[in-house]
Subunit: 338 residues, 2 copies
DNA sequence: TTGTAGGCGTTATCAC
DNA sequence: GTGATAACGCCTACAA
């Protein structure tokens, strides 16, 4: 590999001291140098193809312009758009993202976090938060800028960009009730995540207002937000042999697992059972049947998370905020009149 | 932020010289230290929560255990599985991935590459290769380990993990011919990518063997591998007002655009027109209609790319290889007898 | 406004 | 087998 030109090379050619070159190349200190010298140095630097080494400056300053991003499962289609929003926003500000997929494992998450810490990331975006999350606590302890996206925690004073889950479940139920459904099942997610818990609680809460008949045995919380878990969960509901005409799923992948289970029982959707999803994942409109789902602005989630993180990096003492984006219901072919 | 413990702190506590600690903590040099001392130092280091700083050692050694990964479009569902395979393989070996989405732009690609270079990546995995690709040339010039995935270039002597496109197109056509189709249209991709060109050439080549009637006006190459481009391309084919009963699309997203165009012309799939895709993207089986597609082992593509890159990093002079994985056809509901 | 000098944490290369 | 020293490339008090 060719040797890269460094600050000294540029200094020698420009006949100034390396520190002057350093000041010129750093936007934050450029104003300390007279414009004439600055222009000349910048010119020469660019001619020589000089590029600052973030490694060296990071070692000196403790800032690396690198952000960690931890995702629970990149094969869940809701995450690529979020990652994209994050990545686009960060790179526009000169930051890069190091991405890791924890594969839904707490242990993996911890290992990834340690590895990222050792690499001196300037901040972390976490899409894997559990209600009790050691990684979140660590970040707070160590004063590492942190933003949660999609999921939140029980720990307070953390910046987060999440969805209004109560509202989303409300919309799904209202839609089904308007279609005449009175017996509605619920296919929930893991109860150690905020999305799992909050959507379940919202379902129970709304049931109490008497809009439909709640049967606790028709409520099953799955072990993971995956098709396989949804499939198993739905088989559990069907095994009750109780009447119901609609299912509210806490996530689109669960809804897909639900499709499979209905299929196996020769039940048609929406003919026999209406199904609503949650997240409106990419291609939800092209599924068979097209999935009625609660739409979340995924890219926007990523963009806002990145921006909030950048603000926190620039000044660690900015107030912690919770951005709760409002979803909207997208009605498609998986729901029909009772 | 708390100060991290460094090599000197450990040395002081263990009453050895910092260089001894360094040797102990580095797997490659640990054998230089007597076992007794090594064990004691390792013990103390772990008690103190010491972690090597890849920044500092990277500065000294020029190796950062960081790999760049450039993807053309993360919202194309074939890439998340590839990225996952890459990421899993790299992290098992202590490497991390910095991921960037070039958004299909050559300019973006260049900027990303420069930024990654300045961060001293140890190697690069490129999923964005064009037939003439300046980034590829640069890597060779600078002897930066490089592996292409999914797409290849006209530049020789580059390690790559790609699909057998000829075979894939062959399979799609054979399937359609067996169903009795004789007039087959082709919806291709950008001709400055290997996947675009090779799939198109394969289609033409197989036509020459006389298995079906080739009408050049029924062959359209789209500007990008996206649904929107496929939609436009397919409208172009339909505008010819020529008879055909099947379409071979060079990629699943093009096939989806094709679905839309057929819909607008009140043509049913597979009733009026059969459609085949390419890649077998996640959820292709759940589309409406389920898409017959040429299946590629996406995760495997990523795993192999990562492994080949690691080999090249360990010894830059390993021979460059081309891994061409064989696809298989997955027949679903989008194709039917003519 | 510009130069000087020391250090960020690690490791390669000597010397003992 | 272990210790000493310098250097990786950059930044920042401080001095001039």
């Amino acid at each position: 590999m060719k040797r890269k030109v460094n600050i000294k090379d540029v200094a020698a050619r420009a006949k100034v001291h390396p520190s002057t070159v350093s000041r010129v190349m750093n936007p934050e200190t450029r104003s300390m140098v007279s414009e004439r010298v600055a222009d000349r140095v910048a010119q020469i630097a660019s001619e020589m193809g000089y590029a600052r080494s973030p490694l060296a400056s990071g070692l000196r300053t403790g800032r690396t312009f690198t952000i960690g991003v931890i995702i629970p499962d990149l094969s869940n289609p809701i995450f690529p758009p979020i990652v994209r929003g994050i990545e686009r926003t960060l790179s526009a500000e000169g930051y890069i993202a190091i991405l890791a997929d924890s594969d839904n494992s707490q242990k993996g998450e911890r290992a990834i976090f340690d590895s990222m810490k050792s690499r001196h990331i300037d901040g972390l975006i976490l899409a894997t938060a559990r209600l009790q999350d050691p990684v979140v606590m660590d970040c707070i302890d160590e004063q590492l800028p942190l933003v949660l996206v999609n999921r939140t925690t029980d720990t307070h004073d953390v910046t987060e960009v999440i969805n209004n889950d109560e509202l989303g479940i409300q919309m799904a139920i209202t839609h089904l009730v308007e279609l005449g459904h009175t017996q509605i099942a619920f296919l929930g997610g893991p109860q150690n995540t905020s999305t799992g818990r909050d959507r379940y609680q919202a379902f129970l809460e709304i049931a109490r207002t008497g809009q439909f008949q709640l049967d606790p045995e028709l409520c099953v919380n799955c072990a993971a937000f995956t098709e396989a878990a949804g499939h198993i969960g739905m088989l559990g509901i069907l095994a009750q042999n109780k009447p119901f005409s609609a299912v509210v799923a806490a996530n689109d992948l669960l809804a897909l697992g639900c499709y499979d289970a209905l299929d196996e029982h020769d039940l048609s959707c929406p003919g026999d059972v209406s199904v609503t999803g949650f997240n409106d994942m990419p291609y939800a409109d092209r599924l068979s049947p097209p999935l009625t789902s609660v739409h979340i602005p995924l890219d926007e989630l990523g963009v806002q998370a990145a921006n909030l993180l950048l603000a926190e990096i620039r000044d660690y003492h900015v107030p912690r905020v919770t951005k709760r984006l409002d979803p909207k219901l997208v009605v498609r072919g998986s729901t029909a009149a009772a």
